[in-house]
């Protein structure tokens, strides 16, 4: 039962951390450990991979001026006429977004924020930057338009753009969620924008523990809308975290019974339902729900593992082991998964293949031995690659990592516009905006990395304990067999037919995605009369 409980706690932990990411992570699979296959975020600036993160330094805090610049509030004395703005807008409508940026920046940098068309200029600049693919810069200017509201008529469009970007790209969550959506009051807005705002305000209330306020916000979100379902999902996850399994199940089932079309929400809900059913020991039903999950293969690592546990409890070891083999696929190379070895050893043990079961224990130590030693030796945890890698896979870290990569990519893209933008200072300005944001994000990464590393280390020690226990049990079983069990028995061998309704592709190291759910492990059952170990 240790394993079952652990599995559930991990699952609940996964769900809890899902509450952390913002709506943009809707594209990820929060319930599945959120981007477990995401590329590794680059180590924080100033430290090589594997090196300890530099200590927080007061001197590294961003200055007032830098923060001001981050918000795009650059004040220049030179005044530029509205014809420059008109030219920028014209270029925008002609599809010349690079030229539009140039002229609109001429206007912005040459005028005070109070200038007549300043708000419009920022809006069109944001639109142009978005079209070019500089999402972060666009977000900064949409934020200005929505926050300062010098042109209130642009607020819906700016919010709409932010909503759009937040769904499909990593973005500055502190800026948009905390500074803009959570801390601001908006007047009358379109229904869809109100849903977006209410959902995020509710989500942040839940995160901060203000559940009643959160519920109030969620009540204002339209039922049946994208954010309506997401709100329901958050409520159900909260029930799950509180261990109100029946309520949580009801909540998730309600989402699944609705006519929702968003695959990410559906798959998260399915996985949550399966987890609850598993916890309620309804393994068959849980397995059936797991099988309906249709997320991209790279987001299914936790699905495979949980499904393997379900099959283990259903005593279908062929299938359980097959699912563990699926976890060897390259897409899950970075998936922190010590639990796999526990399950592997258990399966072998249940089939009375004691030597191979012991091999699975050895395999665990072979892979995680160094990491465990680092934890015991109290050496800096981030010096161990496995621990560092696992910590960087924590959903929150992945989220920040994704944003960091976006910033890096877009900073790299800026060079391509040097010819058009260097003359009027836009290039320099954007370079600075990105540099500062990267610094800030790196700081965040460093802060969160310590916590994530500690959590990973604790998790690893927990599995080490289970492995030790298992090793002892395996030894005991070997001893029992030597002492009294019969030495021979008729083998129960599963024959593979030459042809049948099913096709058998022997696994040879090639991973076809459509096969991962269909792996079966064929091995003889060597147990005689002894009871299987539970």
């Amino acid at each position: 039962m240790i394993v079952s409980k652990t599995s559930f706690l991990l699952a609940a932990f996964g769900l809890l951390v899902w509450l952390l990411p913002p709506p943009c992570s809707a594209q990820d699979d929060p319930g599945t450990g959120g981007g477990e296959t995401e590329p590794k975020p680059a180590p924080p600036e100033g430290g090589e991979e594997g090196a300890p993160p530099p200590k927080k330094d007061a001197g590294e805090k961003l200055s007032e001026e830098e923060l001001k610049e981050l918000e795009g509030a650059v004040e220049e004395e030179v005044l530029v006429g509205p014809e420059v703005f008109d030219e920028g807008v014209k270029l925008y409508y002609e599809g010349n977004f690079v030229g539009a940026c140039k002229r609109l920046w001429d206007y912005i940098s040459g005028n005070q924020p109070g200038a007549d068309k300043y708000g419009y200029a920022e809006f069109f600049l944001a639109q142009s930057l978005e079209r070019i693919g500089l999402m972060h810069a666009a977000v900064e200017y949409y934020y200005n338009v929505a926050k300062n509201r010098t042109k209130p008529e642009l607020l819906p469009d700016a919010l709409s753009a932010l909503e759009r970007i937040s769904r499909h790209h990593p973005f500055d969550q502190n800026l948009i969620l905390h500074d803009l959506l959570y801390d601001s009051t908006f007047g009358y807005l379109r229904r869809d924008l109100r849903d977006f705002i209410e959902y995020n305000q509710g989500l942040l209330d839940y995160r901060n523990g203000f559940i009643r306020w959160g519920q109030k916000h969620f009540q204002s979100v339209r039922e049946g809308s994208y954010y309506g379902y997401k709100a329901k999902y958050v409520e159900a996850v909260y029930d799950l975290v509180k261990y109100n399994l029946d309520d949580a199940l009801k909540g998730f089932r309600a989402i699944l019974d609705s006519d929702i079309k968003q695959a990410d929400v559906i798959n998260n809900a399915r996985q949550s339902v399966a987890r609850i059913l598993f916890e309620q020991k309804k393994y068959k039903e849980a397995y059936e729900v797991y099988e309906t999950i249709d997320a991209p293969i790279e987001k299914q690592a936790s699905v495979f593992l949980e499904e393997a546990w379900t099959q283990y409890y259903l005593k279908d070891y062929q299938r359980a082991m097959g699912l563990l083999y699926a976890l060897e696929a390259p897409a899950y190379f970075r998936y922190f998964n010590p639990e796999k070895y526990v399950l592997k050893a258990l399966i072998y043990k249940n089939l009375c293949h004691y030597n191979v079961a012991k091999d699975a224990v050895s395999e665990f130590y072979q892979y995680y031995g160094d990491a465990i030693r680092v934890v015991y030796d109290r050496v800096d945890l981030d010096r161990n690659e496995i621990l560092l890698d696992a910590a960087l896979q924590e959903p929150r870290m992945v989220e920040i990592g994704r944003f960091q990569r976006l910033l890096d990519t877009e900073l790299g893209m800026l060079d391509g516009f040097a010819f058009s933008w260097s003359e009027n200072g836009l290039l320099e300005h954007l370079n600075r905006v990105y540099d500062l944001k990267i610094k800030e994000v790196n700081q965040q990464l460093r802060q969160k990395l310590d916590k994530a590393l500690r959590e990973v280390a604790e998790k690893l020690l927990l599995f080490e304990e289970q492995m030790n226990l298992l090793e002892y049990e395996i030894g005991l079983s070997i001893y029992r067999r030597i002492k009294g069990a019969p030495a021979d028995k008729e083998e129960e061998r599963d024959e593979i037919p030459y042809y049948s309704e099913n096709t058998f592709f022997e696994f040879d190291g090639e991973f076809w995605n459509d096969e991962l759910h269909d792996f079966r492990f064929y091995i003889e059952d060597r147990c005689f009369s002894e009871e299987r170990w539970e």
């Binding site: 869809d192 695959a263 790279e298 090639e510």
Partner: protein, 236 residues
């Protein structure tokens, strides 16, 4: 404020309002468009996460057969070197072949029965060189009676060919009747992997000889030369 800046005239104001209304409408439409994200999430992977068999630098050696000429049948050997760029594209940098030609019944009869016909009038492919682009359309596997998995790929090839034709085989060449020709290749082929390093390759290709370097475009051109090749390949 810039004193010289023209005031916001009513016409321009109306125009800007119209433009902004258009923008607002457009943005709304865009927002509605993205309101429904795709029903199925996209995967970053194709159907195969990791191929067991992939080629990099391929050296192959094998047997070739030129069956189509009415006057002779060619049996030969071919050696080729192919660079594989990725799973889809490769370039067969060079494929050198030598052919031993056996006279067909028709040729023998003609020479026997018509004394004025000289053997020199039947140039046959003796040496050839192909440079082709390979387009590897399909990669797959099949299970043989559920016991054994066979991996294979199907590809199309196209490129140019340099051909040396002579009426006689290599040991008795008649250089006066030699032809140096250029042609275009088109073909299909398949590969069966034996293990990650070794594979069996079958090529069917047709060369259309278009131009003779030493005789120009004469009545012997254009001419088809089809080849069937079976070779063993080693992945360097």
């Amino acid at each position: 404020m810039n004193a010289t800046r023209p005031r916001f005239g009513p016409v321009r104001a109306a125009l800007l309002t119209a433009v902004l209304a258009f923008v607002a409408l457009g943005a709304t439409a865009f927002a509605e468009e993205v309101e429904e994200p795709p029903v199925k999430e996209k995967s970053a992977f194709g159907p195969i996460q990791k191929r067991l068999y992939r080629m990099d630098h391929e050296l192959s050696f094998g047997w070739s057969y030129l069956p189509l000429d009415a006057y002779y049948k060619g049996y030969g050997l071919a050696l080729s070197y192919t660079i594989h760029f990725d799973h889809v594209w490769a370039i067969e940098l060079v494929r050198l072949g030598w052919t031993w030609n056996v006279d067909s019944n028709l040729k023998t009869k003609l020479i026997d029965q018509m004394p004025d016909i000289s053997p020199a009038e039947f140039p046959a492919v003796v040496l050839f060189e192909n440079t082709n682009v390979l387009f590897k359309m399909l990669y797959g596997k099949q299970t043989f009676l559920n016991r054994m998995v066979l991996h294979f790929e199907l590809f199309a090839s196209g490129g140019v060919s340099l051909v040396f034709r002579n009426p006689f085989n290599i040991h008795e060449l008649d250089m006066e009747n030699s032809r140096y020709e250029l042609g275009l290749n088109l073909g299909i082929g398949c590969r069966f992997w034996i293990d990650p390093d070794w594979s069996l390759r079958v090529d069917l290709r047709d060369t259309l000889l278009l131009l003779s370097f030493n005789r120009g475009f004469d009545d012997q051109l254009p001419k088809n030369a089809a080849e069937i090749g079976i070779s063993i390949s080693y992945n360097l």
